[in-house]
């Protein structure tokens, strides 16, 4: 065999994931939620969050949020160093209260969307998005 050790490759270092995120990220997420909702109770209906179960590329994960009648929807990536991702605001003339974007995820984590509904109450939807090294398909 002609190949030498020098010709060996390294598995992409980019595949290495941040396994442990700082505790402060979670605290930052909670602060953001508190600031948005004022501590109000969160219903589980009235908002849908569409996200892949497993991210094809953790650097650009497509998500979609929809909450009929909402005036605002906040999206948080709870495991990112800076959890707040975006807040979408809908004016009274908005044809629909939905938005889609792509977000970057530091690792496997929950994505949370919270909507301020027409009556001033709040609703949330959560999705776990896995960020994986991959390989080994059946």
């Amino acid at each position: 065999m002609e190949l030498t050790r020098r010709q060996a490759i390294a598995l992409g270092a980019g595949a290495l994931l941040a396994a442990h995120l700082p505790h402060t990220a979670y605290a930052a997420g909670e602060e953001a939620i508190q600031a948005f909702t004022g501590g109000a109770a969160l219903a589980d209906t009235g908002i849908t969050l569409t996200a892949p179960e497993i991210a094809e590329n953790g650097n650009t994960v497509p998500i979609e949020v929809s909450a009929p009648g909402a005036s605002e929807i906040m999206v948080l990536a709870l495991g990112n160093p800076t959890p707040p991702v975006a807040t979408f605001k809908f004016g009274p003339l908005a044809a629909s209260q939905s938005a889609s974007t792509r977000i970057r995820l530091a690792g496997t984590q929950d994505v949370l969307a919270i909507a301020r509904l027409a009556d001033g109450s709040f609703a949330q939807a959560k999705a776990t998005v896995k960020v994986t090294i991959g390989g080994c398909g059946g």
Binding site: A8, I9, E53, T132, G135, C136, G137, G138
Partner: protein, 565 residues
């Protein structure tokens, strides 16, 4: 209303037959006398629609041996449920007699001895005979291919899938969905699909840039058969860019997208579909979960996880049919569709015993034509095996033990990693190993056998990551492969633990010492999904190893200690 259960013919073709061939009575003659083509294909045509399902052929044009797994652990809601029942437990569950053709075709145990009696399975010319027979009884039967068709052999690799396209075209499928096909690269896939004389379906094949349905792969196709408006919706493998090299098909995105599936079901129902069939490459447990979430699918023809089940599994109003792999089985599903709904079904999983089912000479000729330019290379004997070589199993198989040995010796590594794929035929003790046999278990478009350093900590991360793809209790987070195979490395796995805590006691087998998280180890492996991987193709590494050995042996693998199963 007639219950669907009433129509369930406890379908395994061979199960009704034997009775006489007791355990240990495995003479080839006895086996063949007990089994006839007519018996295998006997079916009382039922209702007004017939579906024929083939899937995961992995380019196996010719008859092969294929041992089903003895270890296939289910987790979460699927613990102890089919297809996670193997060996004698599987036979008890379905009332299959030990030593019978069904034992040989569907379960593990005494495989080498039974194979001597019952012979090889599969061969697309035999599959053609079965399809022709079904079409003689129901001329407008739908033939649906679940994908993993244009991958997995020497000739498939060297013709970039053209051999399979040519042979499958001779079988005249009506629709197909996809997985490994995409590892031919998107240019080649597009080129083939643009000229395909049947529907290439995938409701979850999206344009990666715009995250909208890809034009080349429509979500569904309507068929009018037996006076019934049938919609077939395709579902490609959801995790292609993760489980396989996404850089080979960067224009495409996938995912399960069950909301979009529901939209498609609602759309076809609104257009008058009386029967909705999902041609799926999700894998069995994912299909089961999806069937509980998406309403309105009558039949899911399930592929990817290579399970062969003698009866459909019912989830609500949906039946799920699993048709095995490597050309070993054909499923026939007859349906009674009246007043816009499925009133009953009859199903049969037909094992393709290649010595019993006569080949269709027209298709034999097409197969021979594909293989002719390569005959010399295919048939060259590289060595012999004194052990049964097989792949299937959650943690290891003797073929992968041999491949890991080849990597350790040929690439001078301390640890070898081999991907947990589920394709690849078996070799019987005493059988010659040809170049074709080696390619049947290694052929792929990213075969480079790399050699690299990994820290103990990174090895642990890799094993944990792959284990979660297999043992996450939520099927939607599973990718449908098996555990990465390890050579020179032992470990303990508690499958009930969460990711990060399953793998313990990592041990370097050479020294018996625990793996040091901080130390670097020399690791050889293959099938990396990363672009730019370098090394000789794995088939050369394995061929050199077998040639050097002459006759290969494998010692029982006890390096993985499994708990929580």
């Amino acid at each position: 209303m007639i219950s669907r259960r009433d129509f369930l013919q406890t379908g395994m073709a061979a199960s009704a037959i034997l009775g006489t061939s007791g355990f240990g009575n495995w003479g080839r003659l006895a086996a063949q006398q007990a089994l006839t083509q007519d018996q295998l294909l006997q079916f009382d045509t039922f209702g007004n629609v017939s579906l024929i399902h083939v899937t995961d052929i992995h380019a196996q044009l010719k008859p092969i041996y294929f041992r089903e797994p003895s270890v296939n652990i289910g987790v979460g809601p699927n613990k102890g449920k089919v297809p996670h029942v193997t060996g004698a437990d599987f036979r008890r569950l379905y009332g299959i007699e030990d030593g019978s053709p069904s034992h040989y075709a569907l379960s593990s145990g005494d495989f080498a001895a039974l194979a001597q009696g019952y012979g090889r399975v599969g061969g697309l010319d035999r599959v053609s005979t079965v399809i022709n027979q079904i079409r003689s009884e129901r001329p407008d039967a739908l033939l649906l291919d679940g994908g993993d068709t244009w991958h997995g052999s020497y000739t498939c690799y060297h013709t970039q899938g053209q051999d399979m396209v040519n042979v499958m075209n001779a079988l005249k499928p009506d629709a197909m969905t996809f997985h490994w096909e995409f590892t031919l690269g998107s240019d080649r896939v597009n080129e083939i699909v643009e000229n395909l004389p049947f529907a290439a379906l995938g409701q979850n094949i999206f344009d990666a840039e715009w995250d909208e349905p890809a034009e080349l792969f429509p979500p569904y196709r309507f068929f009018e058969r037996g006076g019934v408006r049938i919609a077939v919706i395709g579902q490609a493998f959801p995790y292609m860019p993760i489980a396989n090299p996404g850089w080979m098909f960067p224009e495409y995105a996938f995912g399960i997208r069950d909301e979009h599936m529901q939209e498609m079901v609602d759309e076809v129902r609104a257009q008058g579909a009386e029967l909705v069939v999902c041609l799926s490459h999700n894998g069995f447990d994912v299909d089961k979960k999806m069937a509980g979430i998406v309403g309105g699918i009558d039949v899911i023809l399930s592929g990817h996880t290579h399970d062969a089940l003698p009866e459909p599994v019912l989830v609500g109003e949906t039946i799920i049919v699993a048709s095995g792999s490597n050309g070993k089985f054909v499923s026939r599903v007859d349906l009674d569709v009246r007043d816009g709904r499925m009133m009953g079904f009859r199903h049969k999983l037909i094992p393709i015993f290649s010595d019993v089912i006569a080949p269709d000479p027209a298709v034999t000729a097409v197969i021979d034509e594909q293989r002719a330019p390569f005959t010399e290379h295919l048939s060259e004997v590289i060595g012999q095996s004194d052990a049964l070589l097989y792949r299937r199993g959650n943690f290891n198989g003797t073929w992968d033990d041999l491949i890991c040995d080849a990597l350790l010796t040929q690439r001078e590594a301390e640890i070898a990693l081999s991907p947990g794929v589920r394709w690849g035929p078996s070799i019987l003790p005493g059988q010659d190993i040809t170049r074709e046999d080696i390619w049947n278990v290694t052929s792929m478009t990213y075969p480079e056998a790399y050699r690299t350093e990994m820290t103990g900590e990174f090895l642990h991360v890799v094993l944990e990551d792959v284990a979660d793809n297999l043992f996450n209790p939520d099927p939607y987070y599973q990718q449908g492969g098996d555990m990465v195979r390890t050579g020179g490395l032992g470990y303990r796995i508690d499958i009930t633990q969460p990711q990060g805590s399953r793998i313990t006691e990592l041990t370097l087998l050479k020294t018996g010492e625990r793996i040091d998280p901080a130390r670097s180890y020399q690791v050889a492996g293959w099938a990396s999904v990363n672009e730019g991987t370098e090394g000789p193709p794995i088939w050369d590494v394995v061929e050199d190893h077998i040639r050097a050995q002459g006759t290969v042996s494998v010692t029982p693998n006890t390096s993985v200690d499994v708990v929580g199963a």
